[in-house]
C-alpha cells in the first residue's frame, strides 16, 4: 500500500555540481521520486557516480538538492538533525576519544541536560548492544575495523534516531567481519523496527537486509529505474539466504540490472520524465527467466508489478 508521501519521501530531487572546467554544470541525478514507509529497510544500488552518496548526504542534511525536496520523519529536510543518524563509510570516530567517549559525545548532544552518569549508562547500553562491552575504554586505533564500525553503529543508535542512514557501512571490511556485522544489523533491526536507508553496492547485502531495493541508472543524469520489492521471507539469515526459493531470480535480476540495464537505460534516457514520478515496482520471481525482465520493463506504465507477486512459486 504505497502512500503518496512516505516516511521518507523524495520529490523531484535533482543535484547538479559545477563541472571540473568550471564553466558548465554536471547533473549527477535528476528528478528522483521515491517513498520509504516507516519501519521499512530501503537499499540503493547503483554504480559509482550515480550519486548514491549524494542522496544520502542530502537526506542527512549535509548537502542540499539543486531542485526538489526531501521529507524525512514528517519534516522537510533543511539541515542535519538528531532525528536522522548517519553511519559513515569510514566509521568517522574521533581518534582522541575512547569507544565510550565517542558514544557519549553523541548521547550528550541528544540529551544536554543529562548527568554524566546517565550519559555513561545510556552509552554503555548501546555499546553492549553491539557486543563491545569490555572494550569501551579502548581508543579507535586499538580497535579492529569491524569493532570501529560497531562503535559507529552504537553511536548512531544511541541517539535513538527516527531514521538510520548508512553509507556503504561495511564496504571497507573483510568478508567475514562484514557478515557478522550484517547479522548484528539484522538483530538490531528486528528488535527496533528502525527505518533504514542504506547505500550499498553488494547485491547479497541488499537482499539480506532490505525490504525494498532502489535501482539507479548510471550517472550522469542518473534516475531511479525501478524499485525491487524483496519477496524473500522476513526471517532470513545469511547462512540460509541462498537456499530460499526466490533468491536466485531476485539476485539475477539485480545483477543483470547492474551489468547491462543500468547502462542501457542511461543511454536510452529511460525512464522518461513522465515515468520518473512513479518508478515501476518489480517483484522478480522464478516464473521469468532473468532476460525476460529486460523485456518487461514497464517504462511508460508507471506503477506496475512487472512480475507475479508469487512468494510461493519455487524454483523447482
Amino acid at each position: 500500500m504505497p502512500t503518496s508521501t512516505g516516511f521518507i519521501s523524495a520529490q523531484g530531487l535533482t543535484r547538479r555540481f559545477p563541472d571540473t572546467s568550471g564553466s558548465g554544470e554536471l547533473t549527477v541525478f535528476e528528478d528522483l521520486w521515491f517513498n520509504v514507509a516507516e519501519g521499512e529497510f530501503a537499499c540503493v544500488i547503483g554504480h559509482s557516480g550515480c550519486g548514491k552518496s549524494t542522496i544520502l548526504n542530502i537526506l542527512a542534511g549535509l548537502d542540499a538538492p539543486t531542485e526538489g525536496h526531501i521529507i524525512a520523519a514528517g519534516k522537510h529536510v533543511l539541515g542535519p538533525s538528531l532525528d536522522r543518524a548517519v553511519i559513515f563509510q569510514g566509521h568517522a570516530l574521533m581518534p582522541w576519544l575512547s569507544a565510550l567517549g565517542n558514544v557519549e559525545l553523541a548521547v550528550s548532544s541528544r540529551h544536554p541536560s543529562w548527568s554524566r552518569a546517565e550519559i555513561r549508562d545510556h552509552a554503555m547500553k548501546y555499546l553492549t548492544l553491539v557486543h563491545l562491552d569490555g572494550s569501551e575504554t579502548k581508543k579507535p586505533a586499538q580497535l579492529s575495523g569491524g569493532m570501529k564500525q560497531r562503535v559507529g553503529i552504537a553511536r548512531a543508535l544511541a541517539i535513538e534516531p527516527r531514521v538510520l542512514l548508512m553509507d556503504e557501512p561495511f564496504s571497507a571490511l573483510d568478508a567475514l567481519t562484514r557478515g557478522s556485522l550484517q547479522d548484528e544489523v539484522i538483530a538490531i533491526r528486528n528488535a527496533t523496527r528502525q527505518t533504514v536507508f542504506m547505500i550499498t553496492h553488494d547485491v547479497d547485502e541488499a537482499l539480506l537486509l532490505a525490504d525494498k531495493i532502489l535501482l539507479m541508472t548510471n550517472g550522469p543524469k542518473a534516475s531511479i529505474a525501478e524499485i525491487v520489492e524483496n519477496t524473500l521471507p522476513k526471517e532470513r539469515t545469511r547462512a540460509e539466504l541462498h537456499k530460499l526459493p526466490n533468491y536466485y531470480p531476485l539476485r539475477n535480476h539485480l545483477i543483470e540490472f547492474l551489468v547491462t540495464r543500468s547502462r542501457e537505460m542511461a543511454v536510452a534516457n529511460v525512464p522518461s520524465s513522465a515515468g520518473r514520478r512513479t518508478p515501476p515496482i518489480v517483484r522478480p520471481t522464478a516464473a521469468f527467466a532473468p532476460h525476460a525482465s529486460t523485456a518487461t520493463v514497464p517504462e511508460p506504465a508507471g506503477q506496475v508489478a512487472a512480475c507475479l507477486p508469487t512468494r510461493h512459486v519455487s524454483a523447482a
Partner: protein, 280 residues
C-alpha cells in the same frame, strides 16, 4: 631489553664525547709555562697571558668552579650590575612567559578564525606573509618609542616573535580537520561553540602544540638578544655585562645556563604535545 642496552651504549658514547671535548678544551687553554723571564712585579702587571702563555679563555675547571659558585648562591642581589644568575634567568623566563602567553591568547583564537573562514584566511594572508619574516628585533625601536618602557618592549618583542608559528599552525590544524568529523558534529546538531571545543580543538591540538613548541624555542632565542638591547636585568643583559667586564668565564657559564633552560622549556612542550597526541 634491547632498548635499554641501546640507551646505555648511547649514554657511554655521550660521556666519552663529553670527556674528549673537556679534555681538548683543557689542553687548548692550559698555559705553556713561563714564557719570558721578567721582574715579578712587572709580570703581575702583564698578566698570565704574556708571562705564562696562558690563554685569556678560561679552562673547564674555572668554568666548573664558576657554575658551582652560581649554583650555590643563585639569588643574591648586590645592586644593578651584580645579581645572582638565578635572578637574571628568572627575569628572562618571566618575560618569555608573559610575551608567550599573550601570543597564545591572540594566536589561537585568530588561528581558529583563519582556519574556519576561507574569507578571513585570504584577507589576512598578505599581512601574515609580510609580518612573518620581519626579525623580531626590528620592532624594538618602534616598541621603545610607542611603549616607552624597555621591560614591556622586550615582552612585546617576545610576543611578536612567538605569534607567527602558533598562528600559522593553528590555522592549518583547524582548516585540515577531517570533514567526516565535522559531519558527525553536524548530524549531532552540535552548536558551533561545542563543535570548536569538542571536535576541532582536540583534532587540531597536535598541530597547534607543534606551533607552540616552535614558538617557545624562538622566544628563548630572541630574549637574549632583546635583553642585550634593553639592558637592566635578564640573562641577555648578564651576558653583555660580563663581556664588558671581560669575564669570559661568566659568559660561558651563562651560555650553558641558557642552553639548559631552553632544553627544559622544549621538554615541557614535548610533554604537553604527547598529552594531546592521538593515533589515527
Amino acid at each position: 631489553m634491547t632498548q635499554n642496552w641501546l640507551g646505555l651504549r648511547a649514554g657511554l658514547v655521550s660521556l666519552a664525547l663529553f670527556a674528549i671535548i673537556v679534555g681538548v678544551w683543557h689542553i687548548a687553554t692550559a698555559g705553556t709555562g713561563t714564557a719570558v723571564k721578567m721582574d715579578p712585579e712587572y709580570a703581575k702587571l702583564m698578566g698570565a697571558t704574556a708571562t705564562q702563555g696562558k690563554s685569556a679563555m678560561p679552562g673547564p675547571a674555572e668554568v666548573g668552579a664558576k657554575i658551582w659558585q652560581h649554583l650555590r648562591d643563585p639569588f643574591y642581589d648586590k645592586g644593578t650590575n651584580d645579581k645572582g644568575i638565578g635572578i637574571q634567568l628568572a627575569y628572562s623566563i618571566a618575560r618569555v612567559g608573559l610575551g608567550y602567553l599573550l601570543a597564545v591568547a591572540v594566536a589561537i583564537p585568530v588561528g581558529f578564525l583563519i582556519g574556519m573562514s576561507p574569507l578571513m584566511s585570504r584577507a589576512l594572508d598578505p599581512f601574515i606573509q609580510v609580518m612573518k619574516p620581519i626579525s623580531p628585533l626590528a620592532w624594538m625601536p618602534l616598541a621603545l618609542y610607542t611603549i616607552k618602557d624597555s621591560g614591556i618592549s622586550a615582552i612585546f618583542v617576545i610576543f611578536i616573535c612567538s605569534l607567527w608559528p602558533m598562528l600559522i599552525n593553528t590555522a592549518f590544524g583547524v582548516a585540515t580537520v577531517r570533514r567526516d568529523w565535522l559531519n558527525v558534529a553536524k548530524t549531532l546538531e552540535m552548536s558551533p561553540g561545542r563543535t570548536a571545543w569538542r571536535v576541532i580543538l582536540p583534532a587540531a591540538a597536535p598541530t597547534i602544540l607543534t606551533g607552540m613548541r616552535i614558538s617557545i624555542g624562538i622566544a628563548w632565542l630572541v630574549i637574549v638578544a632583546a635583553e642585550m638591547l634593553v639592558g637592566g636585568t635578564g640573562i641577555g643583559y648578564f651576558v653583555w655585562n660580563e663581556w664588558n667586564n671581560l669575564s669570559i668565564t661568566n659568559v660561558i657559564t651563562a651560555i650553558l645556563f641558557i642552553g639548559v633552560i631552553g632544553m627544559l622549556l622544549d621538554q615541557l612542550m614535548a610533554k604537553l604535545q604527547r598529552l594531546v597526541a592521538y593515533a589515527d
